[in-house]
Symmetry: C2
Subunit: 371 residues, 2 copies
C-alpha cells in the first residue's frame, strides 16, 4: 500500500490551496481543470476536461484513488456514474446534493430537527410567508448570486418569471450577525469541528472573518458544534463542510451548507493545527483527523477583492514591510472587480489590532486606500 | 511588474518544501532536476538538466527572474557564468563559496574575528595541531561524509593518501552539545535570525532538533544571533543560512555553514510565523522579511530515516490516530537505509512529552519499534 493519489474536480483557489497539504503529506495530487489558465494548474498536475462530461470525468478518475470536488457545479448524474463504476468519490452524490440543492437541504434540516428559517417552495402559486421574503434559485448561486429580496408579490412574480423554475422562499430574518462553522467527517464516522467563525459580509460577499466568534458565549459555541456534527452525521458527510448560520439573539438558524473547503475556513491554514485543506484530504482518504485546536487566541482573515489595481505584487511588498506577521495567499487569478483573488491572515491576541491591520491590508491591496 | 518566477537548482526535499510558500505567495516556481524521479518534480514545474553543465543551467535560468540552490554541488564556475551573463542568482558565487569550501570558510571566520576551532590546511607536510584531529575534505561532504577522525599521524596520512588533495584539519573539540542557528538576509541588507536550535546527532546525522535550545541562557542566545548576523553581513549572504555551532560551556565555536534552507530549520514550517522556506524566497526576491517569532514555546522535529519498512503510508496512519497534533512531511523519496525520507514536527510547552512523542513517531516510521 503506497501513497494514494487524490483528484480534484475543479482547479480554482480551493484546489490550489489543497495542493499544499498534499505536498506535505506525500499524497499524489491532480486536478481536472476547465482551462490551463485555472489557478491550480500552476501548482499541480492537471488534466483539461469538462466536469459536466461524464466520459472526461471518468477518464480523469481512472488515475486517482479518490476523487473530490472544489465546487458545487458537478452534476449529480456525473457523480452517480462515478459511484456506479466503483470510483471512490467523496462527498457522495447523496451528501453533495445538500450543497447543490437548497430545497433538498431545507427538507433535510427539517427532517434532522435542526433550525431552519420559515421556508417554502414557490412555483408561482400560493405563499404562506409574509413579505419581504428571500427568494433563491435552488442551485448554482453563491456570493449573493441567485439570491433576491422580494418585498411584495409583484417583485416575487418578477423574479419567478425571470428564473422560470421553482424558487426556495425563506423568511427575511432580522439577524444580529452571521457565522460559519467548519466540520470534517471521515468514512469511519470520525468527526471534528473547528471553533465557529464570524463572517463579515459586504453586499453579500464575505470580506473578512474572525475566529473564534467574539460575541459567542460557551453555549452558542457548543450549539454551533452540535448543529454541524448533527448535519455531518445526518447527511453522511465525508470531507469538510461549512455550515453558515444566522445568529438571532441566542438562536442559531441554518443559512447554507457548502460541502468543501470554504472561504470561512481559510483562517485555519495558519490558525489551526490542522487546516481545512489538510483535514479534507485526511477525511476523504479515511486517515485519522488532525487536531482542530487554534494556534493563537484569534485569527482574522481578510479577502482581497479585485479592484482598480491589476499588479498585486508591489502592494504586498509594501504590506510585508509594514507588518512582518501578515500571511499572504495569492491565487494568481486574473484581477476582476469584486473577484476574490487572494486572502491575508493575521494571528494574535489583540483583536482590535488584528482587525485594523487586516482591514488596512485588504483595502491597500484592492486600491481602496493608497498608503 | 507581475509576480516573479524563482528557479531552484536541485529538486530534492528542500526544493519540494520551498514549493509550498511559492504557492502561497503566488511566486512562479520551477526546479532544475537531475532525474524526473527527483522528489520536487512531483509538486513543481521542472526542467531536466545537469547542474554542472553551464549551457543547461543558463537555459534553465532564462525562464526565471531569480535563481537559487538547494545543494552545494553547483560549481563556482557555473554560478559565476550565470552572474556574468546578468542572471540574478542568490546566494552569489562569492558568498556560496563558504558553503562549498571549508578551508575558505575557516579563513573567512578568522578574518571576521569569529570563533573557529584550531585549524590548519594539511597537504602531507607539518601539522601544528595535537592528535586526535578531525580531517575534512574541503568540499562535498555532508551528514558525516568527508569527515574523518585521525588519532595519529599514520591515520592522517592514510586519509590523505586516499583523498589525494589538501585536507582541512581541526582540533577535535570536547563539546557539550551542538546547535544551529538560521539567519536570513536580503540584498537590501535586512537580516533576521530565528531562535537557535539544539541538533541531536546520531552517527554524524541529525536525528532530531529542539527549538529553542533548552540549555541556552539569554547570553548564549544573543551570542548565537550575533555570530549568525556577523557572518551573514560579512559574506554578503542573500537567502537563508544555517550556522552550525559547537557549545563548550559558555562558548560557541563555528562548525559549518550551509547557505540554503537546512534540516535544522524544518521546525520553522509550523513553529515560526515565517518558515525558512518562505524567508528564503522573500530574501532572494528582496521582499521584506517575515517575522521569525515562534508560534509555540517549543518545537521538536524528528527526521524519519529509511529503515526496514518501505511502505511509509500505513505507519503514519497509525501515528495520526495516536496523536492528532503531529505534523508530517513526506518527501516521497525512495526508502534507503539511513536516508532522510521525511520529518515530523510537534509543537507545545511540555518538552519531555514532545520529545517522547517525536522519538516514538520516528522510531515507528523507521521500523525500530512496532507499536
Amino acid at each position: 500500500m503506497g501513497f494514494p493519489k487524490v483528484g480534484v474536480i475543479g482547479a480554482g483557489q480551493l484546489a490550489r490551496m489543497m495542493a499544499v497539504p498534499a505536498n506535505d503529506l506525500g499524497i499524489g495530487f491532480t486536478v481536472l481543470a476547465a482551462h490551463n489558465s485555472d489557478c491550480a494548474t500552476q501548482v499541480s498536475d492537471f488534466v483539461i476536461g469538462d466536469y459536466r462530461d461524464v466520459t472526461a470525468v471518468l477518464d480523469f478518475a481512472r488515475g486517482c484513488d479518490v476523487v473530490t470536488f472544489e465546487h458545487e457545479l458537478v452534476p449529480q448524474s456525473v457523480i452517480k456514474e462515478l459511484e456506479r463504476t466503483g470510483v471512490r468519490v467523496f462527498p457522495s452524490a447523496s451528501a453533495f446534493l445538500y450543497s447543490q440543492n437548497k430545497i433538498a437541504m431545507r427538507e433535510k434540516m427539517d427532517e434532522l430537527g435542526l433550525p431552519n428559517p420559515d421556508w417554502q417552495v414557490f412555483d408561482g402559486g400560493e405563499i404562506h410567508l409574509s413579505f419581504p421574503v428571500i427568494a433563491k434559485t435552488p442551485s448554482g448561486g453563491y456570493d449573493g448570486r441567485g439570491v433576491f429580496v422580494a418585498n411584495d408579490r409583484s417583485e416575487l412574480d418578477e423574479v419567478f418569471n425571470a428564473v422560470k423554475s421553482p424558487l426556495l422562499l425563506e423568511e427575511k430574518l432580522n439577524f444580529d450577525y452571521e457565522v460559519s462553522i467548519m466540520v470534517a467527517r471521515s468514512p469511519h464516522g470520525q468527526a471534528a469541528t473547528w471553533p465557529a467563525t464570524l463572517t463579515v459580509q459586504t453586499n453579500g460577499i464575505c470580506t473578512s472573518t474572525i475566529t473564534p466568534v467574539p460575541q459567542f458565549n460557551e453555549q452558542l459555541g457548543t450549539l454551533a458544534g452540535h448543529i454541524a456534527l448533527t448535519i455531518a452525521a445526518g447527511i453522511g458527510l465525508v470531507g469538510v463542510m461549512a455550515v453558515e448560520l444566522f445568529v438571532v439573539a441566542d438562536s442559531l438558524i441554518i443559512n447554507e451548507l457548502a460541502l468543501r473547503p470554504h472561504n470561512s475556513g481559510h483562517w485555519s491554514i495558519e490558525g489551526s493545527v490542522t487546516s481545512q485543506f489538510e483535514q479534507h484530504l485526511r477525511a476523504i482518504l479515511d486517515l485519522p483527523l488532525g487536531s482542530t485546536a487554534m494556534t493563537a487566541p484569534f485569527a482574522v482573515m481578510g479577502n482581497v477583492l479585485g479592484g482598480e489595481k491589476t499588479d498585486m505584487y508591489r502592494p504586498y511588498l509594501h504590506l510585508m514591510a509594514r507588518n512582518p506577521n501578515l500571511k499572504f495567499h495569492q491565487y494568481l487569478k486574473e484581477v476582476r472587480l469584486g473577484r476574490k483573488i487572494g486572502h491575508i491572515t493575521l494571528l494574535g491576541d489583540d483583536l482590535l489590532h488584528l482587525n485594523r491591520e487586516i482591514e488596512h491590508a485588504v483595502d491597500y491591496m484592492s486600491g481602496v486606500i493608497d498608503e
